[in-house]
Amino acid sequence: MSSKRKGTYAAKMKRATHILFYRRHQKPGVRGWELHKALGSDYPKVLDVLDDFLKPLDLQVKTVFQQENAPEKPTLDELDKARFYVTLRGDLQPKETKMIGWRIDDLAGLAITISYIISKKGQAARRDVEELLGEKIPGWKIGLNIDRYVRYGYLQQDDNEQLYLDWRTRAEVDEKALIDLLLRSEEERAAAESSEPQDEETDEESDQPN
């Protein structure tokens, strides 16, 4: 690669970083066509390079296609219609969730809600979800939590009180991995648990409203 070309790519990568990291709209992330307009038609290549640069920082450029199943070799048109985000590449430790504003039971509620909706082919009655959450979460918190998940963009609710997965779940959650992990055998779970550090704080006593 010539130094001039290198310089062009460096400038484009810088621009892509600004566009992707700083929120430009009400929702985070940018559409492909916005990147196309700002960086030119080779923006997928720029994003690939940026993704490589983000790897050591445990970050990644995440592409969420308009259609549910991501195409194997997306066309430029499909990329233009897709949404791009910068997300964490690896996973968070339980201690870290508190740093980003999540309590363990709120996160557990979100995990249950998302996996339940996935198992119901992407749609579940709010009443059923409330019933399921009611087994582990105090009643006064269930409605508040579901409303919060909807507000954040993890869920969507229609007029018939049916819940669906929304844009943030598609951007942030590896649905297949979540279900696989939930269904993992007890032995595997036990093995995984034994290898985890024991210094996680307990948050289970804090179920009372403040």
């Binding site: 990291f21 700083y22 929120r23 985070p28 992330g29 970050l59 990644q60 995440k62 985000y85 910068v86 997300t87 964490l88 590449r89 690896g90 996973d91 968070l92 430790q93 339980p94 969730t97 980003i100 363990i104 039971d105 996160l107 557990a108 979100l110 995990a111 249950i112 998302i114 996996s115 339940y116 996935i118 198992s119 119901k120 082919k121 399921l132 087994e135 582990k136 943030r168 951007a171 942030e172 959650v173 590896d174 649905e175 297949k176 991995a177 979540l178 279900i179 696989d180 992990l181 939930l182 269904l183 779970r189 648990e193 985890e196 996680e200 307990t202 289970e204």
Partner: protein
């Protein structure tokens, strides 16, 4: 004597039985299509056998339509079965009961740990930069103060006075003569013209309103509408012949108002010209 099939049924009986069976099958398949019945409750081979069995019996169009309808619904059910299998064979399909069981078995910590392995939250920066501050300051400098932006246009106060009739006439607010006086004048003219040119106390509408200029004609039509409204005259409309006559009254009649009916009359430039040339419509 009627021919019988191996089961000892006449053709008519076979047809009736076949129709009943097909209708029952169609109802069931509609239930499956409406997602009220499990698609695998239907034995596709059995349905095909029934359709095949009765097909030679059908000769009427409605019977063949019923047969076609059964095949159409059967195709839809097979499609639903295929979708069901496809959905369950995908890696994302999980039996909801199994999943519920797993969820209830796990405590909050376990579920959270699992979720954290599949959760990659969006990363965002919220930061003000020197450049954006500088841009904002430049914008602020260029921004016009509210008192200037919302300033009302200066309006010169003019003391209240009395306008003379001449001034109002100059501004076309009033005509040279009072409107009622003008009406009276036209009423009188209508009476005179009806006596001289009219027949049976009425005058053809166009004979009355037509003037030397189109503008004057429109004005006369306008005045005539008031003559009729205020009871100085009345209109006689003969719908079949599309003729309209004006009849002046001797005294203004308030009784006429009891049945107020609007009569739209078109007075185009072309119709006025034709009337002038003597081409009565």
């Amino acid at each position: 004597m009627q021919a019988q099939n191996p089961k000892g049924q006449t053709r008519k009986e076979t047809k009736k039985l076949g129709k009943d069976r097909l209708e029952r099958v169609i109802d069931m398949m509609k239930g499956i299509e409406g997602h009220t019945v499990d698609p695998f409750l239907l034995n596709v081979d059995e349905i095909i056998r029934i359709i095949q069995e009765y097909f030679p019996t059908w000769d009427q169009p409605e019977e063949l339509t019923l047969d076609a309808e059964a095949i159409h619904h059967l195709a839809s059910v097979i499609k639903l079965q295929s979708e069901w299998v496809k959905q369950r064979s995908t890696s994302l399909y999980t039996d909801p009961f199994l999943l519920e069981e797993k969820i209830t078995q796990k405590n909050k910590r376990e579920i959270t740990q699992i979720f954290l392995q599949a959760w990659h939250p969006i990363v965002e920066q919220e930061q003000i930069t020197l450049r954006s501050l500088a841009d904002a300051l430049r914008y602020w400098d260029a921004l016009v103060p509210l008192r200037e932006r919302w300033e009302q246009p200066a309006v010169t106060e003019i003391p209240i006075g009395i306008a003379t009739r001449e001034e109002l006439a100059d501004q076309s607010i009033l005509r040279d003569e009072a409107f009622s006086a003008e009406l009276e004048r036209y009423w009188s003219a209508l009476q005179t013209k009806t006596q001289t040119e009219g027949k049976d106390g009425k005058l053809h509408y166009m004979d009355w309103v037509s003037a030397d200029t189109y503008e004057e004609t429109v004005h006369r039509a306008y005045i005539t509408s008031f003559l009729v409204t205020y009871g100085y005259a009345t209109l006689e409309v003969i719908p079949l012949e599309e003729e309209i006559f004006v009849m002046p009254l001797q005294e203004p009649s308030a009784k006429l108002h009891r049945q107020a009916v609007s009569v739209p009359i078109t007075l185009s430039f072309e119709s006025w010209q034709k009337w002038k040339r003597g081409e009565k419509e």
